[in-house]
Symmetry: C2
Subunit: 238 residues, 2 copies
Amino acid sequence: MRYELYYWPSTPGRGEFVRLALEEGAADYVDVARRKGGMDEMMQLLKGPRVAQPSYAPPFLKAGRQMIGQTANILLFLGARLGLAPASEAGRLWTHQIQLTIADLVDEIHDTHHPIASGLYYEDQKPEAQRRAADFCKNRMPAYLGYFEKILDRNPRGSNYLVGARITYADLSLFEIVAGLTYAFPHNIERQARRHPHLIALHDRVKERPRIAAYLASDRRLPYDQVGIFRHYPELDA
Amino acid sequence: MRYELYYWPSTPGRGEFVRLALEEGAADYVDVARRKGGMDEMMQLLKGPRVAQPSYAPPFLKAGRQMIGQTANILLFLGARLGLAPASEAGRLWTHQIQLTIADLVDEIHDTHHPIASGLYYEDQKPEAQRRAADFCKNRMPAYLGYFEKILDRNPRGSNYLVGARITYADLSLFEIVAGLTYAFPHNIERQARRHPHLIALHDRVKERPRIAAYLASDRRLPYDQVGIFRHYPELDA
């Protein structure tokens, strides 16, 4: 099975959570919008008048004739196929629950620089962004990171992974959260790191996995930027 | 199986999406936090130091010894058990994808009155709320409602339901979206209604289902208010 990933070609964004799973799972995949003519293919599947099950937005995945949208839903689908989720239904639901909480955090990270309208530029909502980012750094980031630290701490199979004794797609996504927050809020994440040793250790552990390390060193990994979810504006990282 | 739903006892909020599925599915359930001592039970499961798989926030569901958090995840679990999701994996993923898009819309609805910080009062972020709500009514609400209208329009089994030829939990949730938006933004939803005939028809169809009609007439259905997701501030409904 060759998977087709559809996501904006210039930024890691939400597509990155899917890429990390495809890479760790050694899946055969193509990042469609990054190839010649790929953006047209993606827009056709998004906006074409005869697509029966269109996604609201990228990322979405094609697996044969099946199309699957929504980041966490794609991971639910891939987790079972790539050995990145527990075998039991209860384990899969718990992994998915963690992923959905990560998705909530991603939304809040996005809104630190776009608290008013995703259709406006950051420059058009700067004072509001400063208020929202200050609250995010003071209240929301510690609450979410503390939650994930707690999950790691209480895992009956040990604190190396979020669920059970093996890596899941949720661990890969949490790596991306720590990596992205370190880019976006270096000052604040440094202050948070000491209180979240399991979380930082998980980030470091994922980063060293052979397939992930090879991916991160390749040009398949896009750099963080100032147009995606994770952006570094020093004025928001007080 | 007696299901235990845990959610804030005074507002429909995100718990309502779960209640509607439990009611339509004729499930045996208890709304724990609404009974005497129930809030303490809920807070114990949320904050207790020995809970192995705590949720980040309500709602969560107990089914025997299993605990499931995140609204869409609870519905994924219940859909299979209550006959409110297709039998095939592809159909279940498509239903879940729609539900996750509904969840994104719910987040955006919440942020119309809380664009800066969920921990602050509305009164502390009123100018920002007016900017965000104006963008929501002009751009985001039409985009989401247009998307759901399109899904209904393109359903190869007819436009009565979002997925296939039978009701799913996603239809129930979309009913709640239309009902809640009608409370929160009566002026704007009226302008939207004409452009979304399938969506309005779905709302009306769900409302008339015997179990849903009985539920809506009961005191199990909480009224909308000014503390939940859907709030009516005339100044936000320009």
